[in-house]
């Protein structure tokens, strides 16, 4: 070749180089590993428009070119074997797994949480979906009346290509980080939501309401657009443990809150401990818009997740409220980013973590205030609770403040369940484990009270299970 191809050139000849006509057969032959052939096959199977196919191929090149992150839990990241991962699973294969393959400890937890039989199979990945048609239909009707679009991402691309094309990848470009690039190359499933101007969605939307939901996809891609003055609350995941035999979960979630819009995005993540949960979540908030991330991480072996809000319009407000529970062997590396680009924007980060046994939790955060963004306010509060002598917590707060006329607060606290607290509660008749649980529940209360009631109840029960055997 005479010259090095520019990024714009990449993808122009993907069709010639990788094109083939029987993707089904391809996946039969090569179920694992990542290559342009895999990306091509995924796009072809989904019958995607040309621009998306090119988008995927470009993203793969970026993924291959980008080094692994040099920060975070690099030792654990180095153990990811990209060749041993299945990047696309056809719907027909999803039900082939047997209930017998589900690990005993996961089944036991289902038992103790009292999860209904049908839902257990879904959560364990044994059945492809948990149907709730009645709920689905009434919700669907209401949304249609309001003009709200709520689809899985694949259907969104098919049915509303022009909106998707306009916003997809604009908040989180493929080149943002290695795992965003990976998701951009092989994404499947996730939610697509558009809420029209001045429309308020009354109930929190959940993937649960979508029919044929690929709710637990490995490479989910979610795009939520709240038009001017619109309001929406989206809930992802659930408190019940989600078992997946595939080891990498790498989602991308993009939120766009236009002038005066309000988006709340609630996540409760309880993946089984064999999962690497490497997720990129980011929102753009226009003038007077409000974006809130409520983010709970209970499961996975390693989580790296830093929900972000770019405060682009004046008086926009961003908030991250997160809780992480790192049990033995787990590392929850979570945090938040707030980028203040416009004057009088405000942000608040509240991060709470519990580390138990050999569990490790890290707060990693960035607050950036651009020169000229005067009158901004930000506050960051990190609280870590350690249970046992081997538990570990770290904070990595970064503040880049290029403007003088701002108010910045930062507070970090590390605590243990104190002997004096325990003695106090026990002197009131509470047994040792009851007293510990009360202290932990109190610690996460600011998070729990932001959850819808049924989630709050489930989360408290889950923490109760996690806390068992932690005495001494």
């Amino acid at each position: 070749m005479a010259s090095t191809p520019t990024v714009a050139d990449i993808g122009s000849d993907y069709n010639r180089r990788y094109g083939f006509h029987d993707p089904e057969e391809y996946f039969m032959r090569t179920p694992k590993g990542l290559s342009h052939e895999v990306v091509e096959a995924i796009s072809l199977l989904k019958k995607e428009p040309e621009w998306m196919r090119v988008f995927r191929h470009k993203a793969l090149d970026i993924f291959l070119a980008k080094p692994m992150p040099t920060w975070g839990d690099t030792a654990r990241l180095a153990t990811i074997d990209f060749d041993d991962i299945t990047y696309y699973v056809r719907a027909t294969e999803k039900q082939e797994k047997s209930w017998d393959d589900v690990p005993e400890n996961v089944k036991r937890t289902f038992d103790r949480l009292g999860i209904p039989e049908a839902e257990r199979k879904f959560l364990a990945g044994v059945s492809a979906q948990y149907e709730s048609e009645v709920v689905y239909h009434s919700v669907k009707e209401e949304l249609t009346k309001q003009g709200v679009i709520f689809l899985d991402m694949d259907s969104g691309l098919r049915e509303h290509e022009e909106i998707v094309r306009r916003y997809f990848g604009t908040v989180i470009p493929s080149a943002d980080n290695k795992f965003a690039a990976l998701n951009s190359a092989v994404w499947s499933g996730g939610s697509f939501i558009y809420v029209p101007k001045n429309t308020e969605v009354a109930i929190p939307l959940q993937a649960y309401f979508r029919i044929n939901a690929e709710r637990m996809g490995q490479f989910e891609r979610t795009l939520i657009i709240a038009d001017e003055g619109a309001k929406v609350h989206y809930i992802e995941g659930c408190t019940a443990p989600v078992y997946s035999s595939s080891s990498l979960h790498s989602a991308v979630v993009e939120l766009i809150a236009m002038k005066g819009a309000r988006i709340r995005y609630t996540t409760i993540q309880n993946w089984s401990n064999n999962i690497y949960n490497l997720v990129t979540k980011r929102a753009v908030a226009d003038e007077d818009a409000v974006v809130e991330w409520v983010d709970g991480n209970i499961g996975s072996g390693l989580t790296m997740k830093y929900p972000a809000v770019i405060l682009k319009g004046e008086r926009a407000h961003g908030e991250v409220l997160s809780i992480a529970f790192a049990g033995p062997g787990q590392h929850q590396d979570a945090g938040a980013k707030m980028i203040h680009l416009a004057p009088h924007t405000t942000s608040k980060i509240t991060s709470k973590s519990i580390s138990k046994g050999t569990g490790r939790s890290s707060y990693r955060g960035l607050v950036k205030i651009r020169n000229g963004a005067h009158g901004c306010k930000t506050s960051v509060q990190c609280d870590a609770l350690l249970i046992g002598d081997a538990a570990r917590t770290d904070t990595y707060p970064t503040m880049e403040i290029d403007e003088d006329q701002v108010s910045v607060e930062h507070e970090a606290r590390v605590s243990k369940i104190g002997d004096e607290q325990l003695f106090y509660l026990r002197s009131r008749g509470l047994k040792d484990d009851q007293a510990r649980l009360m202290i932990v529940n109190g610690f996460i209360e600011p998070f729990v009270k932001e959850l819808p009631m049924e989630y709050a109840v489930e989360l408290n029960r889950l923490i109760e299970l996690e806390m068992e055997g932690s005495v001494g």
Binding site: Q421, Y424, S427, R428
Partner: protein
């Protein structure tokens, strides 16, 4: 108070060590139901250590015997003592952020009574006791001792005393840091507990609480020991003369 009653609480030959240091050097007490004892002594004499160790604080090594309603409870954990009817009002109650006064109190009442108390019934009882103590009902929803003033903390201790209805209660410096109005309210609570037959030991540095709560017995506590016991008049004498005349040497101690 029944003169023929058996002690609801007694301890014999109690010594307490913190590490290598002996802080309590042989204490005997016997408290009848509804009886109020005051233990008075200068700062640093070991009064608080005695109160905390009797309740079973894990940092203190106690030897001797402790009996509650005729049963030996010396070796029991604090929560077991509590469930059998023993109570300690703390000098410095700790905060438990995120746990409301109401939910904590309901858990404690359920643990001590051995059965869940229905929410409605519980609330009614709690609000009535709060009114007795001139507390704003909004207190029920505040996080336990979190950001409370000294006086608020002490009221919440007394609220617990009235809700848990123990057989025997130790009150550690419950009068310290209170203004006169708060002191009267706290005294009212203590008197109400006494009329419920709760035997009590008030550990205090000052005489002023005893203007509102009349003790049956006053003990003077110095250097880890009770150096003198007497009636309420002993408290007045201490108020006038201080503690110096009672130095262990002055009363013939070692």
């Amino acid at each position: 108070m029944n003169e023929n009653a058996r002690p609801v609480f007694s301890c014999h030959g109690v010594h307490v060590r913190i590490g290598e240091k002996e802080v309590v050097k042989g204490v005997d007490l016997a408290v009848l139901p509804g009886e109020v004892h005051a233990i008075m002594g200068p700062n640093g004499s070991g009064k608080s250590t005695l109160a905390n160790s009797l309740m079973g604080h894990p940092a203190y090594a106690l030897t001797g015997t402790v009996e509650l309603a005729g049963e030996d409870v010396t070796a029991l954990a604090p929560d077991e003592k509590a469930r059998r009817g023993m109570f300690l009002a703390f000098q410095y109650p700790v905060a438990v952020p995120g746990v409301t006064v109401a939910s904590f109190l309901r858990a404690a009442v359920s643990a001590v009574r051995g059965a869940d108390v229905p929410v409605r019934e519980f609330r009614k009882e709690m609000l009535a006791r709060m009114e007795d103590l001139e507390m704003d009902p909004a207190f029920a929803g505040r996080y336990l001792n979190d950001g409370f003033s000294g006086g608020e903390k002490k009221r919440v201790e007394i609220l617990q005393l009235l809700m848990l209805k123990p057989k025997f209660a130790l009150l550690d410096e419950t009068d310290s840091g209170l203004d006169i109005d708060a002191l009267k309210v706290v005294a009212k609570g203590i008197n109400a507990a006494a009329s419920n037959d709760t035997g009590m030991v008030l550990v205090t540095h000052y005489q002023r609480l005893l203007n509102y709560v009349r003790p049956h017995v006053v003990h003077v506590f110095m250097d880890g020991r009770i150096v003198r016991s007497g009636g309420p008049e002993l408290a007045l004498e201490l108020e006038e003369r201080g503690y110096d005349w009672l130095e262990p040497a002055a009363v013939g101690g070692v």
